[in-house]
């Protein structure tokens, strides 16, 4: 547990990361805000590979069932990602990975249903370096491009094996074009609903005819795998006209091409979508909700400014995110705690605030599901929704119950921290210490009064080890489970 008075750095790390470990508070606390933003967006300067820390003492645990195998077992893929969220020194990279995972929301179950469970985990989460066929799973592609060029991300996602299964592109053929990916790339990935027509959907489906999968490698050494290939025989070669500009000269028609050259259709279309002003605005609005403020209407000034940064920098997300994190809207007083924490954000921040020694991220998986969030299993292709929908009664109970679980698990660590901080002497001292360590949105006087009453409820204050172990755990439960702690 750590105490800091640096309100701005904590705000920044809640948004650009998953809260702050004590060492992160030290590192970023020594920087000005522009320096901290610079460090966050230029995360390649941190060379430590967080994955090499898995299994070492002092870090949060993972639970192994035989071999820990995040490239073939989805539960382990989830554990690895949660581990990264806790211990990475590149917090913005993991935060962007979550943003993109939500943006290009792909569900493991459909992949696993089509190709099998181990293949499903592979195409979602394998690293090329650990896969015999050098498969790079979708989340790895998104992590590697976390602050890359949006056009490149779109092109990669259109060729991504999991996506080609998820939105059925692998079956998109000349005779009977398949509309699923063609529709969603416009509705959810780029321009947004209302900015395309039904004929655009048909045309987009035809653009991607022949963007299919092939199987390469051999079964004997485990390298057999599916990967994208352009199947010229299945490409529909006629011209495709849209209701919006595809080319910089304003032309709306992708010309008829030979089947051999037809892959260029999809590249032209993706270029056109990346350059579309509505894509810029759609992304800017989503970044506002995710990073800046969820309350009230989306800030139009912000959207216009960030959309311009996006277009002027040719879709470079590093330039975009630098502007987002330096934006006056983010640093406005009204933006503090103006976002509902998503379940993983809540859970990881609780670990960072309360402690992780002796806790396994495996034990978060069911609580997270009860809160409404399973990594690699968004509710549908639109991803998790913004707003208060995270706070159904059962989800709120799940948050309270996770706080209870973590408080019980960390009972002795917390009691030790309380002793070290000399905070065991009185209910006031304990409350002052723990409510600061847990950095929630400000607690009202009435709520602090209830917490104080709780500390005094079951007998006189002695400050004994037994009392601190139960009262500190109970207080951690109540604060981390409080409505105020559910905001970031």
């Amino acid at each position: 547990m750590a105490i800091t008075a640096d309100r701005q750095i904590e705000h920044l790390l809640r948004r650009a990361g998953f809260g702050a470990r004590p060492d992160e508070l030290d590192t970023y606390g020594a920087m000005s805000i522009p320096q901290a933003v610079d460090a966050l967006v230029n995360y390649e300067r941190v060379t430590t590979d967080v994955d090499t820390l898995i299994g070492r003492p002092g870090y949060v645990n993972v639970t192994t069932r035989g071999q820990f195998s995040p490239q073939t077992t989805i539960v382990d893929s989830r554990q690895r990602w949660l581990f990264r969220m806790v211990h990475t020194d590149r917090p913005l990279q993991e935060k962007m990975a979550l943003f993109w995972h939500n943006h290009f929301a792909t569900g493991y179950n459909k992949i696993a249903g089509a190709l099998g469970a181990t293949e499903g985990a592979r195409y979602m989460a394998a690293k090329a370096t650990e896969d015999p066929g050098h498969v790079r799973g979708q989340i790895e592609m998104l992590r590697e491009n976390a602050l890359g060029n949006f056009r490149d991300i779109l092109l990669n996602i259109a060729k991504d094996t999991a996506m080609l299964v998820w939105l059925d592109g692998r079956n998109n053929t000349r005779a009977l074009p398949q509309e699923n990916f063609g529709r969603e790339i416009m509705e959810l990935f780029t321009v947004g609903v209302g900015n395309y027509t039904e004929p655009d959907v048909y045309a987009a489906a035809r653009v991607f005819t022949g963007w299919n999968l092939q199987q390469l490698g051999n079964a004997a050494d485990g390298s057999r795998h599916f990967e994208f290939f352009y199947n010229a025989n299945q490409h529909e070669t006629s011209a495709k006209t849209f209701s919006f500009a595809i080319y910089p000269d304003g032309s709306r028609t992708i010309p008829a091409r030979s089947a051999a050259d037809g892959m260029q259709d999809g590249i032209d279309f993706i270029n056109g979508l990346a350059a579309h002003p509505n894509t810029a605005r759609y992304l800017a609005a989503k970044l506002y909700r995710f990073f800046v403020n969820e309350f009230g209407a989306v800030n139009v000034t912000f959207v216009n400014r960030i959309a311009n940064v996006y277009l002027q920098n040719h879709y470079d997300m590093r330039a975009v995110m630098r502007e987002v994190l330096l934006s006056p809207e983010l640093w406005d007083d009204g933006a503090y705690f103006a976002r509902y924490s998503w379940p993983v954000e809540f859970g990881i921040r609780a670990l960072k605030d309360i402690g992780w020694t002796g806790f396994s991220v495996n034990d978060m998986l069911t609580p997270l599901a009860n809160m409404g969030m399973v990594l690699f299993e968004p509710p549908d292709v639109a991803g998790w929704r913004f707003g208060g929908q995270w706070f159904s009664t059962s989800a709120m109970l799940a948050r309270l119950n996770f706080a209870a679980q973590l408080a019980a698990n960390q009972r002795f660590n917390v009691a030790t921290a309380v002793r070290t901080a000399n905070a065991a002497g009185s209910p006031e001292a304990l409350l002052a210490y723990l409510s600061t360590a847990l950095a929630s949105a400000p607690l009202s006087t009435a709520v602090r009064g209830e917490l104080d009453a709780y500390l005094r409820a079951t007998g006189a204050w002695t400050g004994s080890d037994t009392q601190i172990q139960s009262k500190a755990a109970g207080l951690v439960h109540l604060v981390a489970g409080s409505p105020e702690y559910q905001f970031q």
């Binding site: 079956n171 053929t173 509705e187 959907v201 009664t393 119950n401 709780y454």
Partner: protein, 420 residues
């Protein structure tokens, strides 16, 4: 009569099965005592249900020519007669339970429900079906508005959502608890005994300090407050042990919980249940045993049949109405992946003890022809015939006892649509 009345009071009205044929005073008395209220269960089929595979126009040659691999062979459908345009129709072969309910006169099928310029987007479409307003996909849900219009204060368990997130259709000022599993709806503590009790009491008191000037925070407070206030009553539902086995599917278990809530009489009026997987773009496999769509029908059929049998055994079927919806139907012609893409009008089903069973509306004619009025989008999709709001209007007026013109911001009542 007077003897019977004494027995009622002594034994409790709930001990009797109130049947449709029972004298009116009897069910009135039962309701007055709170033993019987009208229950409404809304069932969302997520992903866009392919109406033409569920309710098959098996004499239409274009059904077969446009769906060479997906059409259900005429000899395999469960024939249920003809609609008012004299088109013979059959249920998907796996819907044997629904046919039983249909034959009992307690299942209505409402064909070609939709609206003009139907959205083919899952999300926009679901929003529209939820708000019941094609021009406003962001307002509260129609059932949320219904709950908001009930005399206040309402029982915090007046609505019950069986999923973990709030569906748009139930959004409103009235907080609806999400109770996916009654047995998992409990309060944990790192401590035990008096310490744990003190924690729970503190959590309850904290939740009562709702900050009036901060709506987002107040919303989360409301959720915590409601969760803690409903724990004990939900625990009674967790103990419900039906005499039959519900299928071990999400829908089956959700309906088991719904039946438990009804039996325990905790005051819930509106339930939300859902089953997904209807977005069958590829490998739809309508006919293969354990094929994708075949399994969707199995899930639907088995869960609804168990619910039907359980409610009848509990004497609650008379007081229950189930209504399904889905965001759109699917395209008529199959695509190259043995699937179907996003389409327009679809079919709704209503089931309940006071449902006037039968086939409502007319089937589409699947012939490709610009002058064919039953199709739209260059004959690619089924055109709507019954505005979905007319279906809602009937439920609101005839079942929920509210005013549909007020709740739906317009008069959508449709003569003859008296399925309940």
């Amino acid at each position: 009569m007077n003897v019977t009345r004494r027995q009622f009071v002594k034994g409790g009205v709930a001990a009797f099965t109130v049947t449709f044929a029972a004298p009116e005073f009897l069910s009135d008395l039962a309701r007055a005592q709170g033993a019987h209220t009208r229950n409404f269960v809304v069932l969302y089929l997520g992903g866009g249900n392919d109406a033409l595979s569920m309710l098959v126009p098996y004499n239409d040659p274009f059904y077969y020519s446009r769906r060479p691999t997906l059409a259900v062979p005429a000899g395999q459908v469960l024939q249920i007669g003809r609609d008012s345009s004299n088109v013979p129709l059959g249920l998907h072969p796996r819907l044997t339970g629904l046919r039983t309910i249909f034959d009992a006169g307690r299942l209505a099928l409402i064909q070609r429900t939709g609206y003009e310029n139907q959205s083919r987007s899952h999300f926009f479409g679901t929003d529209i079906w939820s708000t019941a307003d094609p021009n406003n996909s962001q307002e509260f849900g129609w059932l949320g508005r219904y709950l908001d219009a009930l005399p206040q204060p309402v029982n915090p368990l007046v609505g019950w959502n069986t999923t973990s997130a709030l569906p748009h259709v139930l959004s409103g000022q009235t907080a609806v608890p999400a109770i996916a599993s009654p047995s998992g709806y409990s309060f944990a503590s790192p401590n035990s005994g008096a310490e744990a009790t003190a924690e729970r009491n503190a959590a309850l008191r904290i939740a009562s300090h709702v900050p009036v000037d901060r709506p987002e925070l107040a919303f989360v407070y409301g959720s915590a407050q409601e969760a803690l206030a409903t724990l004990d009553r939900v625990a009674t539902v967790a103990t419900y042990a039906p005499t039959l086995t519900y299928p071990n599917t999400g829908l089956g278990q959700a309906l088991r919980a719904v039946a438990g809530a009804m039996v325990r009489g905790i005051g819930t009026r509106v339930f939300y249940v859902t089953t997904g997987g209807f977005d069958t773009h590829a490998g739809q496999q309508v006919n293969a045993t354990n094929g994708a769509y075949y399994n969707l029908m199995a899930t639907l059929n088995d869960a609804l049949l168990a619910f039907y049998n359980d409610l009848r055994a509990q004497g609650l079927f008379e007081d229950t109405l189930v209504l399904s919806f889905s965001e759109f139907g699917r395209r008529i012609s199959e695509n190259g992946s043995q699937g179907t893409d996003h389409g327009a009008a679809s079919v709704m089903i209503a089931m309940g003890g006071r449902v006037n069973g039968g086939i409502y509306g007319t089937a589409p004619n699947l012939r490709i022809d610009p002058s064919n009025p039953t199709l739209e989008n260059a004959s690619g999709d089924v055109h709507w015939e019954t505005d979905f709001r007319s279906v809602y209007a009937q439920v609101i007026d005839a079942w929920l006892g509210a005013n549909s013109a007020q709740l739906l911001n317009g008069n959508f009542r449709k003569p003859g649509l008296t399925f309940v």
